[in-house]
């Protein structure tokens, strides 16, 4: 009986030892995978930010609801890009508005531009193509709130600001 209880305690010690190791690993997992995206509240990005970007003060632009691109997957996950009036270029080239460091992304991959009061997405002859709402993009297409585009491993959603 003494033998038995002793080996139970010895085994219990090993369990306790591993419990310490595993709880330490559980704590450090938060460091490895714990990156998540915080979206700042809308009113905080308000007038101060917009004047900093020198947003055109024309009435037609102000009347149009502000949109933004939200990168939901890929190396830039968590970043957002406001759609003001200037075209947005996407690619690996450092001169692009959104620089994606991804082997499946071309130097000048795609662009998003304003035409006739609405936003369009155009593939700039990229090697691996651009996917809009699940189908490959052949010619410039209209973007709406909720449209999703995929470039390499990056996914971008269009949403209201």
């Amino acid at each position: 009986m003494a033998q038995f209880s002793s080996s139970v305690f010895q085994l219990g010690f090993l369990v306790l030892l591993w419990a310490l190791v595993l709880s330490a690993i559980a704590v450090l997992r938060a460091d490895m995978y714990g990156v998540h995206t915080l979206f700042r509240l809308r009113d905080r990005t308000g007038p101060a930010q917009q004047s900093a970007h020198q947003a055109p003060a024309r009435t037609e632009l102000l009347s149009r609801p502000a949109w933004e691109l939200r990168i939901t997957e890929g190396p830039l996950r968590g970043t957002t890009v406001p759609l003001a009036s200037a075209p947005v270029t996407i690619g690996r080239a450092p001169t692009s508005t959104v620089v994606i460091d991804d082997d499946y992304c071309s130097a000048r991959h795609a662009r998003i531009f304003l035409a006739g009061g609405s936003w369009h997405l155009e593939d700039l002859g990229s090697t691996n193509g651009t996917v809009l709402n699940g189908s490959a993009l052949r010619e410039p297409a209209l973007l709406e709130v909720g449209s999703t585009m995929a470039i390499g491993e990056t996914r971008i959603e269009v949403d209201e600001q």
Binding site: Q10, L16, L17, L20, S23, L28, T37, R40
Partner: protein
């Protein structure tokens, strides 16, 4: 606009408290099992050890809350757990050994644990920013070389077990090389952060590796010379390996160039090979490693492989689950409480326990590297990486030596093994690491 932020960071100290409770509980459980298994009852030492470890854990946790609230929550509890397990094992060998019962190695280890803990408190309280250390780059170099050379000074330096790494003053003995490690790490970090561009960018390219210019290789050659001098004059392969390895690792972190590692390994292997050809005591070490089980070498005195082979027998007795704390015979291996504590732990805790202990070291090393990634200044990065790498390299050298993967070197397992100098020096390093991790985390949170 979106930003990227980390999850749940405010509860760092609470998580740490939980880990501290586990670590202290583990240490007490180990002491209790040892006491019950080897002495048959809970001895007065058990109560003393348990009370002290609990007190020290509480004080360390309080100090971190007060002085380094954003410090890493894992490093301190895990270090304390290693310290506690080591203490229990040393006490166990005290109890088992019939030749030196009243010496009380464990009691003095407990005293050194307390001294180490006070050193951490002093580091945390006085070193409010690790960048203060950068100002001491060349002071640290002088201090480091001075400490390394101290055992060679006549009168105070003494030779023990064939290595001249000890000093003895007024009846107290210490291994100054353990403290030199900290000074040298500070010096390397300060020096490399100032010179890394020239070391990284200049030089010819050969076989796909960019080699440094001859004149820039000076520090490398100097570090190599110093480590070889340790090997030759102090006959200590382990210390020599640790210093050179630390330099190469920090150089690699500073310059990101593999050529330094290739050159460094080449130089070290060349030097070690030459040393074995020239010095008989080094050659004897290689023989005990390669032909440990030959009868002639086993019985050779001095310099036989008896200790090494006994350690391996101990490990094999332990098997997968171990004999149980307090129920094996780990004292049969000479120096089971210091150099061979790993064999003793393997015998009583088995592979299952030893793997957990190695994982604990690995996690501390990972935290050091994580700290190096997180901290903003290059000096802090290099220092944290250097401390983490040194700790892991030392564990590799010790465990490799005990398991006969590499020649035995006579290093002690950091935090586990008996030895005041090593214990206090490692605790000071943990203190510095905690301080750097505090600023790293503040930087990441953007609340400096």
């Amino acid at each position: 606009m979106g930003t990227i932020a980390e999850t749940s960071v405010s509860s760092r100290r609470t998580l740490e408290a939980v880990l501290f409770v586990l670590a202290v509980g583990l240490s007490i459980a180990a002491c209790a099992l040892v006491s019950m298994g080897a002495a048959g009852s809970l001895t007065s030492e058990f109560w003393l050890f348990s009370a002290t470890i609990t007190l020290l854990g509480g004080v360390l946790h309080g100090a971190l809350r007060a002085w380094a609230p954003a410090a890493d929550p894992i490093i301190a509890p895990l270090a304390l757990a290693l310290n506690g397990i080591g203490l229990a094992m040393i006490y166990r060998i005290d109890l088992g050994s019939t030749t030196r019962p009243e010496e009380g190695v464990a009691t003095s280890q407990l005293l050194w644990t307390a001294v180490g803990m006070v050193s951490v408190l002093v580091v945390l309280a006085t070193l409010r920013d690790h960048r203060q250390l950068r100002r001491m780059t060349f002071t640290a170099m002088t201090l480091g070389i001075g400490l390394l050379a101290l055992p060679l000074v006549p009168l105070i330096g003494t030779e023990r077990n064939g290595s001249r790494v000890w000093i003895e003053v007024w009846g107290y003995s210490a291994q100054p090389a353990e403290f030199a490690k900290i000074a040298v790490a500070v010096f390397f970090a300060g020096y490399l952060v100032a010179h890394r561009e020239v070391l990284a960018l200049a030089g010819p390219k050969f076989l796909g590796l960019r080699f440094p210019r001859i004149r820039d290789a000076g520090p490398l050659v100097l570090a190599w010379g110093v480590s070889l001098a340790i090997l030759v004059f102090q006959r200590d392969l382990g210390t020599s390996l640790i210093f050179f390895g630390m330099f190469i690792a920090m150089l690699y972190v500073a310059t990101q160039r593999a050529s330094w590692v290739v050159m460094g390994l080449g130089l070290f292997l060349g030097g070690a090979f030459a040393a074995s050809a020239v010095f008989p005591h080094v050659a004897a070490r290689y023989e005990t490693w390669l032909f440990a089980f030959s009868g002639e070498i086993y019985d050779r005195n001095p310099g036989g492989s008896g200790q090494l082979v006994q350690g391996i027998f101990g490990l094999s007795t332990g098997g997968l689950w171990g004999t149980g704390l307090g129920e094996g015979q780990p004292w049969l291996v000479p120096f089971a409480e210091s150099d061979f504590i790993f064999a003793a732990l393997g015998e009583e805790l088995g592979l299952a326990g030893v793997m957990a202990i190695l994982t604990i070291y690995l996690i501390i090393g990972q935290r050091a590297m994580r700290t190096a990634l997180g901290v903003r200044d290059g000096f802090g990065k290099l220092l944290a990486a250097g401390i983490g790498f040194t700790l892991i390299l030392q564990v590799c050298v010790v465990v490799g030596g005990v398991t006969r993967l590499i020649p035995l070197t006579g290093m002690t397992a950091p935090l586990l093994a008996a030895g005041g100098s090593s214990l206090v020096a490692t605790w000071i390093m943990m203190g510095v690491l905690l301080r750097i991790s505090d600023s790293a985390h503040r930087a990441e949170r953007g609340t400096s």
